[in-house]
Symmetry: C2
Subunit: 456 residues, 2 copies
């Protein structure tokens, strides 16, 4: 069976097979592929038939990978005891995410039933839900192998064997050594396999453990994991007590998701929850119209600036308006994309603002000089107004000024926004460009007024 068979025209043929046969066929599929097929099946009955045919283990693995909406549908369609059974087999982090994403009334009903039938799971869901979704605490799983410092290697390998049998323990390649609840060391399965069976963990463990706070932002977590080439990082509270483990496979998802969100914000779109082709027409309008209207209202100031200045006093002045303001916007979007990304991966912090300022100022002046020279040549040599030194100098000077303005705005605004604790990617490319448009016009008309000695 291929995943397409479940969504294609012949699906009735497949789904009407006897349940035992259907189960065998379905369990050949990768849970991810099965989940993706289930995400797009439209007929609720078909979903129920498929889920009913699966073993509890496979159901749990598929559930972990379903979209939140579909998770809710599936839980509705099965008996509440079966729901608890499936939930019990899921990884704790995925389970907590599922519960958090359910509609409020469905969540309450489920939690109540969980508290009666599986109080320890209800408690754990509650605990994991208390951390922000985008933090180390929200990403971590609470199932890991924890052993005492005095345990011997042989016993530790047996413990890992035992943990391997539990589906919910995603990660068995590191053993965490706890003294009480305090994390004192880590031993990789690799080291365990290499060590003498009668050595104690405290003799072979690595004590210099890179660790995360539960409140750490998920993008920082990703950068840490990438930096140290680790497959998992422990999460500890401020007393050093072990809370859970963030694994690298969750982190890859996070990095891809965050990069997408940042790219969308930088383009002036509110982040989408679904993929491009799965997002509905109305959602697109909703995600785009807000910023577009804000930018439009801001950009209306350009019309006000144009009205307030007597641009017709100098022939040819209006001709260069688009060129000048666009050039400022371009240099601004270069700076903002560099800084927003540098902030995202932790290369630059808000307190580096003076180094950024010095650098961008210098870069703006040099780039402005280069473009100003081209602009001078264009204005002086070509077009209806050629031969006017005064106009050419106005153009060149304004270009220099707006390019520098663009680099400064584009670099300092993201730093300021991060400083306020917001996501710097909201100072999007269109936002910087609009700001520089308005200021650029003011700069242009001021310079023209000074050079021509009249009030423009």
């Amino acid at each position: 069976m291929r995943p397409e068979d479940l969504t294609g025209p012949d699906r009735e043929q497949w789904l009407s097979k006897p349940e035992a046969e259907l189960r065998t066929l379905l369990e050949e599929l990768h849970p991810e592929d099965l989940a993706q097929a289930l995400n797009v099946i439209e007929e609720p009955d078909d979903v129920t038939r498929i889920m009913r045919a699966l073993s509890v283990e496979m159901s749990a693995q598929v559930m972990e990978r379903l979209s939140s909406d579909r998770q809710g549908d599936v839980l509705e369609s099965v008996h509440k005891d079966q729901a608890v059974e499936i939930l019990s087999e899921m990884a704790p982090d995925d389970r907590a995410d599922l519960v958090q994403e359910l509609p409020a009334d469905q969540r309450e009903t489920l939690l109540e039933h969980l508290r009666e039938t599986a109080p320890q799971i209800a408690e754990e869901v509650h605990e994991l839900s208390s951390y922000g979704e985008d933090t180390a605490g929200g990403l971590m799983t609470t199932e890991f192998v924890a052993l005492q410092p005095s345990m011997r290697v042989e016993g530790a390998i047996n413990e890992v064997r035992r943990a391997s049998k539990r589906e919910e323990t995603e990660h068995i390649y590191y053993v965490y050594v706890l003294y009480g609840d305090k994390l004192v060391g880590v031993v990789s399965l690799r080291q365990l396999l290499l060590s003498e069976p009668d050595k104690r963990l405290e003799e072979i463990m690595e004590t210099n453990v890179v660790r995360l706070a539960p409140t750490e932002d998920q993008e920082k977590v990703a950068v840490q994991i990438a930096k140290y080439d680790l497959s998992a990082l422990p999460v500890v509270d401020d007393q050093g007590n072990m809370l859970g483990v963030v694994t690298v496979d969750d982190v890859v998802d996070v990095v891809i998701e965050e990069a997408t969100e940042d790219a969308q914000r930088m383009g002036g779109v509110m982040p989408l929850e679904d993929s491009y082709l799965q997002t509905s027409f109305l959602t697109f309008i909703r995600k785009r119209v807000g910023w577009l209207v804000v930018l439009f209202l801001g950009e209306m100031l350009t019309a006000t600036v144009m009205e307030r200045h007597n641009i017709h006093a100098i022939a040819g002045l209006s001709v260069f308006v688009p060129l000048i303001i666009a050039t400022g916007g371009n240099s601004g979007s270069q700076s903002s994309s560099l800084i927003i990304r540098a902030l995202a991966v932790g290369e630059v912090r808000p307190r580096d603002w003076w180094r950024v300022l010095g650098r961008e100022l210098g870069i703006g002046l040099v780039l402005g000089l280069a473009l100003g020279a081209v602009g001078f040549a264009r204005a002086f040599l070509l077009g209806t107004f050629h031969g006017s030194i005064a106009l050419a100098v106005t153009i060149a000077g304004s270009i220099m000024a707006v390019v520098t303005l663009g680099t400064l705005m584009g670099s300092l605004l993201p730093l300021g926004i991060r400083r306020l604790g917001l996501d710097p990617a909201v100072s999007s490319t269109p936002f910087i460009a609009s700001l520089v448009d308005v200021l650029g016009l003011l700069v242009y008309f001021t310079i023209a007024g000074l050079i021509f000695g009249i009030s423009v």
Copy 2:
């Protein structure tokens, strides 16, 4: 010892300690932290003293994490036999990358010496270098555990133990089952630990293995690994022969790096090789001036369009020029950032262009209608030219047209560029904005001419 001690003012005190003591102190550090300190030390002698104090194993681990420039410096500073020793301990993928990045003459000298003293390493570097740096072949390591289908679990665990001792084998958590050179299955270390010692691998192996072609783009590799939550994927040629393994820790680096490069391209900057604060002033100018000049030359067309049209024929027309062209640019940058990202993660393919076209056309019309209404109100109610229905209709119609134009350009251009086999992120936000500026002016003047019934 902390990494800062090596770069701080007291570094002489630390570095002048006896070599044995210095070695003990240095080996307490994480290789990543030591590498980062070495990357920023300015005195070449200090680098040599540190590297000389390290064991070969630690040297290799540090080398894998140094910047390419620094790798070259270190190889220059040690004896060529020591260089070969360090290289032999490095992971094959990092080793091949190092050799590829060396300056041509240094690379030739090193390869010649490698061919004489370690021909199998020279051969392997040659082979790995034949794949593009950004492909699965360029990312993969050739050190992995490969066993025969008939081997028993007990023997397999012993083989994993043996492999664990070799520093170069990064990845031991999957065992690849080969029949001849052909990949026939995979067994995780977890399954090995769980299985009866006398079972054969062919009885327990997973035969439905997700696999990569060596030419697969690294961003696609990342998406595959994220999708299936795997910690490694095998790379096989088109005959099914096993070539190597891509591990998830390399993939996290790739994803972060690609997202940064895309963000920079989308902002109109050529991707930087180093971090923001480590990039030199001149490099910044070089990376930014190219696109800025191209955009400037393109944007000069706006001045030509302004000159060729008699915009003074209609009072008030020039006032709305910045507002109209910027609004087209904003809707264009929304579309391009959505599509570029959707292409990067494989949500949209060039052949989906007609679905994208239909959707963006609809979105453009709706957004254009909304903004056009605001524009109509602004032109009709406020400012020097209020009360002119003809002007207000011109503004509203032009806004609708440029917003739609923006969504179409912003979505179809990235698709077209990908179709040509290029990186769609080069159709940057400023690029789309400049294009829409020029076209937007033409649209605006054409609509004005039609409505006012004169040639503008």
